[in-house]
Protein backbone atom coordinates (compact mmCIF):
# COMPACT_ATOMS: atom_id res chain seq x y z
CA UNK A 1 0.00 0.00 0.00
CA UNK A 2 1.30 3.40 -0.88
CA UNK A 3 1.32 6.00 1.86
CA UNK A 4 0.28 8.76 -0.51
CA UNK A 5 -0.84 8.45 -4.10
CA UNK A 6 -1.41 11.59 -6.11
CA UNK A 7 -2.81 11.25 -9.63
CA UNK A 8 -3.71 13.89 -12.23
CA UNK A 9 -3.53 16.67 -9.69
CA UNK A 10 -4.36 20.17 -10.93
CA UNK A 11 -4.51 23.15 -8.61
CA UNK A 12 -5.75 26.73 -8.90
CA UNK A 13 -5.40 29.97 -7.03
CA UNK A 14 -8.64 31.58 -8.07
CA UNK A 15 -8.62 31.63 -11.87
CA UNK A 16 -4.89 30.89 -12.16
CA UNK A 17 -3.87 27.29 -12.64
CA UNK A 18 -0.63 26.48 -10.82
CA UNK A 19 -0.26 22.69 -10.96
CA UNK A 20 -0.71 20.73 -14.15
CA UNK A 21 -1.49 17.02 -14.06
CA UNK A 22 0.88 16.06 -11.26
CA UNK A 23 1.53 12.42 -10.48
CA UNK A 24 3.63 11.16 -7.61
CA UNK A 25 3.64 8.53 -4.86
CA UNK A 26 5.14 8.16 -1.44
CA UNK A 27 6.11 4.89 0.18
CA UNK A 28 5.56 4.20 3.83
CA UNK A 29 8.59 5.13 5.92
CA UNK A 30 10.45 7.15 3.31
CA UNK A 31 11.51 10.72 2.95
CA UNK A 32 10.62 12.27 -0.38
CA UNK A 33 11.65 15.71 -1.45
CA UNK A 34 10.12 18.07 -3.98
CA UNK A 35 12.63 20.47 -5.49
CA UNK A 36 12.37 23.35 -7.86
CA UNK A 37 12.84 27.06 -8.31
CA UNK A 38 10.68 29.77 -6.80
CA UNK A 39 7.18 29.66 -8.19
CA UNK A 40 7.50 26.09 -9.44
CA UNK A 41 4.50 25.06 -7.36
CA UNK A 42 6.19 23.22 -4.50
CA UNK A 43 4.30 24.94 -1.71
CA UNK A 44 1.11 24.61 -3.69
CA UNK A 45 1.64 20.86 -3.88
CA UNK A 46 1.74 20.58 -0.10
CA UNK A 47 -1.29 22.83 0.20
CA UNK A 48 -3.08 20.69 -2.35
CA UNK A 49 -2.50 17.59 -0.24
CA UNK A 50 -4.07 19.43 2.70
CA UNK A 51 -6.88 20.65 0.46
CA UNK A 52 -6.14 24.27 1.30
CA UNK A 53 -6.39 25.14 -2.40
CA UNK A 54 -8.85 24.23 -5.11
CA UNK A 55 -7.90 20.98 -6.83
CA UNK A 56 -9.04 18.35 -9.26
CA UNK A 57 -7.56 14.89 -9.48
CA UNK A 58 -7.25 12.20 -6.88
CA UNK A 59 -5.24 12.18 -3.67
CA UNK A 60 -5.22 8.89 -1.80
CA UNK A 61 -3.77 8.52 1.69
CA UNK A 62 -3.46 5.00 3.07
CA UNK A 63 -5.95 3.77 0.49
CA UNK A 64 -8.56 6.40 1.35
CA UNK A 65 -9.43 9.32 -0.91
CA UNK A 66 -8.81 12.64 0.80
CA UNK A 67 -9.42 15.06 -2.04
CA UNK A 68 -12.59 17.03 -1.42
CA UNK A 69 -12.28 16.71 2.35
CA UNK A 70 -11.80 19.58 4.77
CA UNK A 71 -8.29 20.34 5.97
CA UNK A 72 -9.24 19.56 9.57
CA UNK A 73 -10.36 16.07 8.61
CA UNK A 74 -7.22 15.36 6.58
CA UNK A 75 -5.16 16.37 9.60
CA UNK A 76 -7.20 14.05 11.75
CA UNK A 77 -6.48 11.24 9.28
CA UNK A 78 -2.79 11.52 10.14
CA UNK A 79 -1.15 14.16 7.95
CA UNK A 80 0.65 17.01 9.73
CA UNK A 81 1.74 20.08 7.83
CA UNK A 82 4.52 22.44 8.86
CA UNK A 83 3.66 25.35 6.56
CA UNK A 84 6.00 27.93 5.12
CA UNK A 85 6.26 30.73 7.63
CA UNK A 86 6.03 28.10 10.38
CA UNK A 87 2.39 28.84 11.30
CA UNK A 88 3.06 29.06 15.01
CA UNK A 89 0.46 30.68 17.22
CA UNK A 90 2.67 33.61 18.07
CA UNK A 91 0.41 35.02 20.77
CA UNK A 92 0.29 31.72 22.67
CA UNK A 93 3.02 30.12 24.76
CA UNK A 94 5.36 27.39 23.57
CA UNK A 95 3.58 24.82 25.72
CA UNK A 96 0.16 25.96 24.48
CA UNK A 97 1.37 25.56 20.91
CA UNK A 98 2.50 22.02 21.63
CA UNK A 99 -0.71 21.13 23.42
CA UNK A 100 -2.66 22.37 20.44
CA UNK A 101 -0.70 19.98 18.27
CA UNK A 102 -2.26 17.18 20.29
CA UNK A 103 -5.73 18.74 20.25
CA UNK A 104 -7.36 15.88 18.38
CA UNK A 105 -5.84 13.12 20.51
CA UNK A 106 -7.73 11.45 23.30
CA UNK A 107 -4.88 9.62 25.04
CA UNK A 108 -3.94 12.14 27.75
CA UNK A 109 -1.08 10.17 29.29
CA UNK A 110 0.56 9.53 25.96
CA UNK A 111 0.23 13.21 25.11
CA UNK A 112 2.07 14.12 28.29
CA UNK A 113 4.76 11.56 27.48
CA UNK A 114 5.12 12.97 23.97
CA UNK A 115 5.43 16.45 25.40
CA UNK A 116 8.35 15.30 27.53
CA UNK A 117 9.98 13.67 24.50
CA UNK A 118 9.71 16.89 22.51
CA UNK A 119 11.35 18.76 25.37
CA UNK A 120 14.19 16.29 25.59
CA UNK A 121 14.70 16.36 21.84
CA UNK A 122 14.60 20.17 21.75
CA UNK A 123 15.93 21.36 25.11
CA UNK A 124 15.65 24.96 23.97
CA UNK A 125 11.89 24.60 23.85
CA UNK A 126 11.85 23.28 27.38
CA UNK A 127 13.69 26.35 28.60
CA UNK A 128 11.15 28.62 27.01
CA UNK A 129 7.98 26.64 27.54
CA UNK A 130 6.14 29.55 29.16
CA UNK A 131 7.35 32.14 26.71
CA UNK A 132 5.19 33.61 23.99
CA UNK A 133 5.98 31.74 20.80
CA UNK A 134 6.36 34.98 18.86
CA UNK A 135 9.43 35.92 20.93
CA UNK A 136 11.40 32.83 19.91
CA UNK A 137 14.20 32.99 17.37
CA UNK A 138 13.67 31.68 13.85
CA UNK A 139 15.37 28.40 14.54
CA UNK A 140 13.45 27.88 17.76
CA UNK A 141 10.16 28.62 16.01
CA UNK A 142 11.00 26.03 13.40
CA UNK A 143 11.71 23.47 16.10
CA UNK A 144 8.43 24.43 17.72
CA UNK A 145 6.55 24.08 14.45
CA UNK A 146 8.00 20.63 13.81
CA UNK A 147 7.32 19.54 17.38
CA UNK A 148 3.77 20.75 17.22
CA UNK A 149 3.24 18.75 14.06
CA UNK A 150 4.75 15.67 15.70
CA UNK A 151 2.45 15.99 18.70
CA UNK A 152 -0.26 14.78 16.36
CA UNK A 153 1.64 11.46 15.98
CA UNK A 154 1.19 11.76 12.25
CA UNK A 155 1.89 9.04 9.69
CA UNK A 156 3.00 11.69 7.21
CA UNK A 157 4.77 14.95 7.91
CA UNK A 158 4.68 17.69 5.29
CA UNK A 159 7.48 20.22 5.61
CA UNK A 160 7.60 23.44 3.64
CA UNK A 161 11.10 24.91 3.36
CA UNK A 162 12.28 24.20 6.90
CA UNK A 163 15.67 25.75 6.15
CA UNK A 164 14.22 29.10 5.12
CA UNK A 165 15.83 32.07 6.80
CA UNK A 166 17.86 30.01 9.26
CA UNK A 167 21.58 30.02 9.98
CA UNK A 168 23.46 27.02 8.49
CA UNK A 169 24.35 25.51 11.85
CA UNK A 170 20.75 25.53 13.00
CA UNK A 171 19.64 24.07 9.69
CA UNK A 172 22.11 21.25 10.07
CA UNK A 173 20.81 20.56 13.56
CA UNK A 174 17.20 20.53 12.38
CA UNK A 175 17.87 18.24 9.43
CA UNK A 176 19.71 15.82 11.69
CA UNK A 177 16.72 15.76 14.02
CA UNK A 178 14.43 15.17 11.05
CA UNK A 179 16.48 12.10 10.11
CA UNK A 180 16.16 10.85 13.69
CA UNK A 181 12.41 11.38 13.67
CA UNK A 182 12.08 9.47 10.44
CA UNK A 183 14.17 6.55 11.68
CA UNK A 184 13.07 6.33 15.31
CA UNK A 185 9.42 7.34 15.14
CA UNK A 186 8.76 5.95 11.65
CA UNK A 187 7.26 9.20 10.45
CA UNK A 188 7.26 9.47 6.67
CA UNK A 189 8.07 12.87 5.26
CA UNK A 190 7.34 14.94 2.20
CA UNK A 191 9.87 17.72 2.16
CA UNK A 192 9.72 20.83 0.02
CA UNK A 193 13.06 22.58 -0.14
CA UNK A 194 14.86 25.26 -2.08
CA UNK A 195 18.19 24.06 -0.73
CA UNK A 196 18.59 21.05 -3.02
CA UNK A 197 21.90 19.84 -1.53
CA UNK A 198 20.45 19.52 1.96
CA UNK A 199 17.29 17.91 0.72
CA UNK A 200 19.04 15.32 -1.46
CA UNK A 201 21.25 14.36 1.48
CA UNK A 202 18.24 13.60 3.63
CA UNK A 203 15.70 12.17 1.20
CA UNK A 204 15.48 8.77 -0.50
CA UNK A 205 13.47 9.96 -3.45
CA UNK A 206 13.17 13.27 -5.26
CA UNK A 207 10.78 15.00 -7.63
CA UNK A 208 11.70 18.11 -9.54
CA UNK A 209 8.98 20.62 -10.36
CA UNK A 210 9.10 23.28 -13.01
CA UNK A 211 6.14 25.64 -13.54
CA UNK A 212 3.70 23.21 -12.02
CA UNK A 213 4.83 20.03 -13.78
CA UNK A 214 7.09 17.15 -12.76
CA UNK A 215 10.14 17.23 -15.03
CA UNK A 216 12.33 14.75 -13.24
CA UNK A 217 11.96 12.03 -10.67
CA UNK A 218 14.22 9.39 -9.22
CA UNK A 219 16.18 8.16 -6.21
CA UNK A 220 17.84 11.05 -4.41
CA UNK A 221 21.21 9.38 -4.48
CA UNK A 222 21.15 9.11 -8.28
CA UNK A 223 20.20 12.71 -8.78
CA UNK A 224 22.82 13.83 -6.33
CA UNK A 225 25.45 11.84 -8.19
CA UNK A 226 24.48 13.05 -11.66
CA UNK A 227 26.49 16.20 -12.20
CA UNK A 228 24.75 17.26 -15.40
CA UNK A 229 21.29 17.08 -13.83
CA UNK A 230 22.52 18.98 -10.84
CA UNK A 231 24.05 21.71 -12.90
CA UNK A 232 21.12 22.12 -15.31
CA UNK A 233 18.23 21.81 -12.92
CA UNK A 234 19.56 22.49 -9.46
CA UNK A 235 22.27 25.01 -10.08
CA UNK A 236 25.18 23.34 -8.31
Amino acid sequence: MKLLDVANLNAWYGPNQVLFDLNFQLNVGGITTILGANGAGKTTTLRAVCQAVQTTGSITFLDKRIDGKATEDIVRAGIAHVPDGRGTFTALTVEENLKLGAYTRKDRHEVQADLERMYSRFPRLKERFRQQAGTLSGGEQQMLAISRALMLRPRLLLLDEPSFGLAPLIVKEIFEIMRQINEEDQVSMLLVEQNAALALNLADHAYLLETGKVVLSGPAADIKADESIRRVYLGY
Binding site: A52, H81, P83, K99, G101, Y103
Partner: protein, 290 residues
Protein backbone atom coordinates in the same frame (compact mmCIF):
# COMPACT_ATOMS: atom_id res chain seq x y z
CA UNK B 1 -19.10 63.54 49.12
CA UNK B 2 -21.75 60.92 49.69
CA UNK B 3 -23.55 61.64 46.46
CA UNK B 4 -20.23 61.38 44.62
CA UNK B 5 -19.63 57.94 46.07
CA UNK B 6 -23.16 56.96 45.11
CA UNK B 7 -22.51 58.03 41.54
CA UNK B 8 -19.35 55.94 41.52
CA UNK B 9 -21.06 52.85 42.91
CA UNK B 10 -23.92 53.16 40.47
CA UNK B 11 -21.29 53.61 37.79
CA UNK B 12 -19.57 50.40 38.86
CA UNK B 13 -22.82 48.48 38.62
CA UNK B 14 -23.59 49.87 35.16
CA UNK B 15 -19.96 49.39 34.25
CA UNK B 16 -20.32 45.67 34.89
CA UNK B 17 -23.14 45.58 32.33
CA UNK B 18 -21.12 47.54 29.79
CA UNK B 19 -18.18 45.26 30.45
CA UNK B 20 -20.31 42.19 29.73
CA UNK B 21 -21.72 43.61 26.50
CA UNK B 22 -18.26 44.81 25.49
CA UNK B 23 -16.85 41.36 26.17
CA UNK B 24 -19.51 39.74 24.00
CA UNK B 25 -18.66 42.13 21.17
CA UNK B 26 -14.93 41.49 21.51
CA UNK B 27 -15.44 37.74 21.50
CA UNK B 28 -17.17 37.87 18.17
CA UNK B 29 -14.83 40.44 16.70
CA UNK B 30 -11.70 38.58 17.77
CA UNK B 31 -12.83 35.40 16.07
CA UNK B 32 -14.56 36.75 12.99
CA UNK B 33 -13.32 40.35 12.60
CA UNK B 34 -16.94 41.42 12.44
CA UNK B 35 -18.92 43.69 14.70
CA UNK B 36 -22.14 42.16 15.89
CA UNK B 37 -24.60 45.00 15.47
CA UNK B 38 -27.38 42.69 16.55
CA UNK B 39 -25.86 42.00 19.99
CA UNK B 40 -28.20 44.39 21.80
CA UNK B 41 -31.40 43.12 20.24
CA UNK B 42 -30.40 39.51 20.85
CA UNK B 43 -29.88 40.32 24.52
CA UNK B 44 -33.24 42.08 24.69
CA UNK B 45 -34.98 39.13 23.12
CA UNK B 46 -33.33 36.78 25.61
CA UNK B 47 -34.54 39.01 28.44
CA UNK B 48 -38.07 38.83 27.07
CA UNK B 49 -37.85 35.06 27.06
CA UNK B 50 -36.84 35.14 30.71
CA UNK B 51 -39.68 37.55 31.44
CA UNK B 52 -42.19 35.26 29.77
CA UNK B 53 -41.02 32.33 31.84
CA UNK B 54 -41.21 34.30 35.06
CA UNK B 55 -44.69 35.51 34.14
CA UNK B 56 -45.66 31.88 33.67
CA UNK B 57 -44.58 31.15 37.21
CA UNK B 58 -41.09 29.74 36.65
CA UNK B 59 -38.80 30.55 39.61
CA UNK B 60 -36.33 33.33 38.81
CA UNK B 61 -33.06 31.41 38.87
CA UNK B 62 -34.43 28.55 36.81
CA UNK B 63 -35.66 31.04 34.24
CA UNK B 64 -32.23 32.68 34.39
CA UNK B 65 -30.35 29.48 33.67
CA UNK B 66 -32.77 28.29 31.00
CA UNK B 67 -32.50 31.66 29.28
CA UNK B 68 -28.71 31.38 29.30
CA UNK B 69 -28.86 27.94 27.74
CA UNK B 70 -31.45 28.93 25.14
CA UNK B 71 -29.44 32.02 24.26
CA UNK B 72 -26.27 29.97 23.89
CA UNK B 73 -27.93 27.53 21.53
CA UNK B 74 -29.60 30.34 19.59
CA UNK B 75 -26.31 32.19 19.18
CA UNK B 76 -24.66 29.04 17.93
CA UNK B 77 -27.45 28.38 15.45
CA UNK B 78 -27.45 31.96 14.23
CA UNK B 79 -23.78 31.69 13.36
CA UNK B 80 -24.28 28.38 11.59
CA UNK B 81 -27.37 29.39 9.67
CA UNK B 82 -26.99 33.08 8.95
CA UNK B 83 -23.32 33.94 9.16
CA UNK B 84 -21.51 30.92 7.80
CA UNK B 85 -22.93 31.42 4.27
CA UNK B 86 -21.50 34.95 4.12
CA UNK B 87 -18.18 34.17 5.79
CA UNK B 88 -16.25 34.94 2.65
CA UNK B 89 -18.54 37.67 1.35
CA UNK B 90 -17.57 41.35 1.36
CA UNK B 91 -17.87 43.39 4.54
CA UNK B 92 -20.95 45.24 3.34
CA UNK B 93 -22.83 41.97 2.86
CA UNK B 94 -21.95 40.93 6.38
CA UNK B 95 -23.02 44.30 7.76
CA UNK B 96 -26.33 43.93 5.94
CA UNK B 97 -26.83 40.52 7.52
CA UNK B 98 -26.05 41.88 10.99
CA UNK B 99 -28.45 44.78 10.51
CA UNK B 100 -31.06 42.36 9.19
CA UNK B 101 -30.70 40.24 12.34
CA UNK B 102 -30.91 43.35 14.49
CA UNK B 103 -34.13 44.39 12.81
CA UNK B 104 -35.70 40.94 12.96
CA UNK B 105 -34.97 40.43 16.64
CA UNK B 106 -36.37 43.86 17.44
CA UNK B 107 -39.44 43.22 15.30
CA UNK B 108 -40.18 39.83 16.83
CA UNK B 109 -39.70 41.18 20.31
CA UNK B 110 -42.23 43.86 19.55
CA UNK B 111 -44.59 41.48 17.78
CA UNK B 112 -44.62 38.76 20.38
CA UNK B 113 -44.23 40.78 23.54
CA UNK B 114 -45.66 44.13 22.45
CA UNK B 115 -44.24 47.55 23.08
CA UNK B 116 -45.68 48.24 26.49
CA UNK B 117 -42.99 48.79 29.06
CA UNK B 118 -42.68 45.90 31.45
CA UNK B 119 -41.04 45.55 34.80
CA UNK B 120 -38.49 42.82 35.26
CA UNK B 121 -37.86 41.43 38.73
CA UNK B 122 -34.56 41.55 40.53
CA UNK B 123 -33.70 38.41 42.48
CA UNK B 124 -31.66 40.35 45.01
CA UNK B 125 -32.88 41.88 48.28
CA UNK B 126 -33.60 45.60 48.18
CA UNK B 127 -31.03 46.38 50.84
CA UNK B 128 -27.42 45.79 49.90
CA UNK B 129 -25.62 42.87 51.53
CA UNK B 130 -22.35 44.75 51.47
CA UNK B 131 -21.82 48.45 52.21
CA UNK B 132 -25.60 49.04 52.17
CA UNK B 133 -25.02 52.75 52.52
CA UNK B 134 -23.54 52.93 49.03
CA UNK B 135 -24.72 49.85 47.14
CA UNK B 136 -28.28 48.73 46.65
CA UNK B 137 -29.02 45.02 46.77
CA UNK B 138 -29.43 44.84 43.05
CA UNK B 139 -26.21 46.70 42.39
CA UNK B 140 -24.20 44.28 44.53
CA UNK B 141 -26.02 41.35 43.00
CA UNK B 142 -25.53 42.61 39.48
CA UNK B 143 -21.83 43.22 40.02
CA UNK B 144 -21.46 39.76 41.55
CA UNK B 145 -23.27 38.01 38.74
CA UNK B 146 -21.28 39.76 36.05
CA UNK B 147 -18.08 39.01 37.95
CA UNK B 148 -18.95 35.33 38.12
CA UNK B 149 -19.71 35.23 34.40
CA UNK B 150 -16.53 37.07 33.49
CA UNK B 151 -14.39 34.90 35.74
CA UNK B 152 -15.93 31.74 34.30
CA UNK B 153 -15.21 32.92 30.80
CA UNK B 154 -11.65 33.74 31.80
CA UNK B 155 -11.08 30.31 33.33
CA UNK B 156 -12.66 28.64 30.34
CA UNK B 157 -10.30 30.31 27.92
CA UNK B 158 -7.22 29.99 30.08
CA UNK B 159 -7.50 26.48 31.47
CA UNK B 160 -9.59 24.30 29.19
CA UNK B 161 -8.46 22.64 25.94
CA UNK B 162 -11.58 23.86 24.17
CA UNK B 163 -10.91 27.41 25.31
CA UNK B 164 -7.36 27.11 24.02
CA UNK B 165 -8.66 25.83 20.70
CA UNK B 166 -11.06 28.76 20.43
CA UNK B 167 -8.26 31.21 21.12
CA UNK B 168 -6.10 29.51 18.50
CA UNK B 169 -8.90 29.59 15.96
CA UNK B 170 -9.41 33.30 16.60
CA UNK B 171 -5.71 34.18 16.30
CA UNK B 172 -4.81 32.08 13.32
CA UNK B 173 -7.60 30.07 11.68
CA UNK B 174 -5.33 28.54 9.04
CA UNK B 175 -2.86 27.15 11.56
CA UNK B 176 -5.76 26.06 13.72
CA UNK B 177 -7.04 23.90 10.88
CA UNK B 178 -3.58 22.36 10.62
CA UNK B 179 -3.92 20.97 14.12
CA UNK B 180 -7.33 19.60 13.36
CA UNK B 181 -9.47 22.30 14.98
CA UNK B 182 -12.84 22.69 13.32
CA UNK B 183 -12.60 26.44 13.01
CA UNK B 184 -16.17 26.89 11.85
CA UNK B 185 -17.54 25.31 15.00
CA UNK B 186 -15.23 27.44 17.12
CA UNK B 187 -16.85 30.50 15.59
CA UNK B 188 -20.27 29.10 16.36
CA UNK B 189 -19.24 28.47 19.97
CA UNK B 190 -17.97 32.02 20.23
CA UNK B 191 -21.33 33.26 19.07
CA UNK B 192 -23.10 31.07 21.56
CA UNK B 193 -21.01 32.41 24.39
CA UNK B 194 -21.48 35.99 23.28
CA UNK B 195 -25.25 35.47 23.17
CA UNK B 196 -25.16 33.94 26.65
CA UNK B 197 -23.16 36.84 28.09
CA UNK B 198 -25.50 39.31 26.40
CA UNK B 199 -28.51 37.58 27.93
CA UNK B 200 -27.00 37.90 31.40
CA UNK B 201 -26.35 41.58 30.80
CA UNK B 202 -29.93 42.07 29.66
CA UNK B 203 -31.40 40.34 32.68
CA UNK B 204 -29.24 42.39 35.02
CA UNK B 205 -30.08 45.75 33.48
CA UNK B 206 -33.79 45.17 32.89
CA UNK B 207 -34.87 45.74 36.51
CA UNK B 208 -33.29 49.20 36.34
CA UNK B 209 -34.27 50.52 32.91
CA UNK B 210 -37.45 48.44 32.45
CA UNK B 211 -38.07 46.04 29.62
CA UNK B 212 -39.20 47.08 26.17
CA UNK B 213 -37.97 46.15 22.69
CA UNK B 214 -35.63 49.15 22.52
CA UNK B 215 -34.08 48.57 25.94
CA UNK B 216 -30.58 47.79 24.84
CA UNK B 217 -29.94 50.35 22.10
CA UNK B 218 -28.16 52.83 24.33
CA UNK B 219 -26.44 50.09 26.30
CA UNK B 220 -25.16 48.54 23.11
CA UNK B 221 -23.62 51.88 22.22
CA UNK B 222 -21.81 51.90 25.55
CA UNK B 223 -20.79 48.30 24.96
CA UNK B 224 -19.19 49.35 21.67
CA UNK B 225 -17.41 52.19 23.40
CA UNK B 226 -16.17 49.85 26.14
CA UNK B 227 -14.89 47.33 23.61
CA UNK B 228 -13.12 50.04 21.61
CA UNK B 229 -11.71 51.65 24.72
CA UNK B 230 -10.11 48.43 25.83
CA UNK B 231 -8.96 47.42 22.37
CA UNK B 232 -11.42 45.68 20.08
CA UNK B 233 -9.51 42.39 20.20
CA UNK B 234 -8.78 42.43 23.93
CA UNK B 235 -11.45 40.75 26.08
CA UNK B 236 -10.10 41.98 29.40
CA UNK B 237 -9.62 45.43 27.94
CA UNK B 238 -13.36 45.44 27.27
CA UNK B 239 -14.00 44.63 30.92
CA UNK B 240 -11.76 47.41 32.15
CA UNK B 241 -13.17 49.74 29.52
CA UNK B 242 -16.71 48.95 30.60
CA UNK B 243 -16.04 49.73 34.24
CA UNK B 244 -14.26 52.96 33.38
CA UNK B 245 -17.12 53.99 31.13
CA UNK B 246 -19.77 53.19 33.69
CA UNK B 247 -18.14 55.39 36.29
CA UNK B 248 -17.30 58.10 33.77
CA UNK B 249 -20.86 58.16 32.45
CA UNK B 250 -22.30 58.74 35.89
CA UNK B 251 -19.73 61.28 37.03
CA UNK B 252 -19.91 63.31 33.83
CA UNK B 253 -23.66 62.94 33.71
CA UNK B 254 -24.11 64.20 37.26
CA UNK B 255 -21.55 66.98 37.35
CA UNK B 256 -20.60 68.05 33.86
CA UNK B 257 -22.92 67.24 30.97
CA UNK B 258 -26.27 66.38 32.43
CA UNK B 259 -28.07 63.17 31.66
CA UNK B 260 -29.58 64.38 28.39
CA UNK B 261 -26.54 63.71 26.28
CA UNK B 262 -25.44 60.26 27.39
CA UNK B 263 -25.81 58.77 23.93
CA UNK B 264 -24.03 61.70 22.36
CA UNK B 265 -21.20 61.21 24.82
CA UNK B 266 -20.91 57.60 23.75
CA UNK B 267 -20.92 58.67 20.11
CA UNK B 268 -18.17 61.22 20.68
CA UNK B 269 -16.13 58.65 22.58
CA UNK B 270 -16.51 56.05 19.85
CA UNK B 271 -15.54 58.41 17.08
CA UNK B 272 -12.63 59.83 19.08
CA UNK B 273 -11.20 56.40 19.85
CA UNK B 274 -11.65 55.18 16.29
CA UNK B 275 -9.81 58.18 14.91
CA UNK B 276 -7.05 58.75 17.42
CA UNK B 277 -6.38 55.41 19.02
CA UNK B 278 -8.24 52.70 17.13
CA UNK B 279 -6.58 49.91 19.03
CA UNK B 280 -7.75 51.24 22.36
CA UNK B 281 -5.89 51.56 25.62
CA UNK B 282 -4.60 48.03 25.70
CA UNK B 283 -4.59 46.84 22.13
CA UNK B 284 -1.69 46.67 19.71
CA UNK B 285 -1.64 48.36 16.34
CA UNK B 286 -2.02 46.00 13.42
CA UNK B 287 -0.48 46.83 10.10
CA UNK B 288 -2.09 45.62 6.93
CA UNK B 289 -0.11 44.72 3.86
CA UNK B 290 -0.93 45.89 0.38
Amino acid sequence: MDSFVLQVTAGLANGGIYAAVGLALVMIHQATHHINFAQGEMATFSTFIAWAMIQAGVPYWIAFVVTMVVSFVAGLLIQRIFLKPVEKAPILTNVIVFVGLLVIFNAFAGWIFEHTIKSFPSPFPVEGMFLPKYFSGHQIGSISVTLVVLLSVFCFFRFTPLGLAMRAAAFNPESARLVGIRVSWMLALGWGMAALIGAVAGMMIAPIVFLDPNMMAGILLYGFAAALLGGIDNPWGAVVGGVILGVLENILGAYVIGSDLKLTMALVLIVTILIFRPYGLFGKPIFSRV
